[in-house]
């Protein structure tokens, strides 16, 4: 792993440690007594702080996950070509697009 990828992986991990802790707390709170779309959207829609939080969360995930998958694939498979870098980068872009779309669907 290059120094830049190592740094990006660890910096995004620090953001994610905080974000995941908050997300787990939110999940455990929100699922009590069952989830309904009305309840969820009433809490989330128009909540600018949580929108900002989840935008940062999605960005950190889109950086962290592809680098992690790249490391695993390079160690566990013989795939080490430029093609691997392109595929994991495309996966990161996909996560970013789907994640931002989901955040806007729930919070805007």
């Amino acid at each position: 792993m290059t120094a830049a990828l190592f740094l990006a992986q660890r910096l995004s991990a620090v953001v994610l440690a905080f974000a995941v802790a908050v997300h787990i707390g939110t999940i455990l709170y929100a699922v009590r007594g069952g989830l309904t779309a009305g309840e969820v959207l009433a809490r989330t829609r128009g909540n600018g702080w949580f929108l900002a939080f989840y935008l940062a969360f999605v960005l950190a995930v889109a950086i962290h996950a592809p680098i992690g998958l790249r490391n695993i694939l390079r160690e566990w498979t013989p795939w080490r070509s430029r093609g691997l870098d392109l595929v994991v980068a495309a996966f990161g872009v996909l996560l970013l697009f789907l994640g931002l779309r989901a955040a806007f669907a729930v919070f805007v």
């Binding site: 660890r10 440690a17 009590r32 779309a37 994640g99 989901a102 955040a103 669907a105």
Partner: protein, 112 residues
């Protein structure tokens, strides 16, 4: 089996990776599910109702455990790399597993 594969550090790395792969595969599905809200609350409600089966709830519990475990084991990695600590690996891995399973248990109790 190689001697290094019986070490708790190897188990920690393996669990960290399996949890990470699980989350990477789950995330696109999770994002697509949330995006049903783009078609209104009714669309999201239909999805939530369709996934209210106990088997799906259990699978969601597994994902929550994977999330908590990946975070806990990731904090261990950050502590080893950036803090002047000498960890007791067996204890650290046990605590990470216990914390993740406790989170999963609370989740399943809350959705039950």
């Amino acid at each position: 089996m190689r001697a290094s594969h019986t070490q708790p550090g190897f188990l920690a790395a393996l669990l960290h990776r399996i949890a990470g792969i699980t989350l990477a595969l789950f995330l696109p599905i999770h994002f697509l599910a949330l995006a049903t809200a783009l078609n209104g609350a009714d669309a999201l409600e239909s999805f939530l109702r369709a996934t209210s089966h106990p088997v799906v709830k259990f699978a969601e519990g597994v994902i929550v455990v994977a999330l908590a475990l990946h975070m806990a084991l990731g904090l261990r990695v950050l502590a080893i790399e950036f803090l002047p600590v000498r960890e007791r690996t067996r204890l650290a891995v046990s605590l990470c597993l216990a914390a993740a399973l406790a989170v999963g248990l609370v989740f399943l109790l809350n959705v039950a």
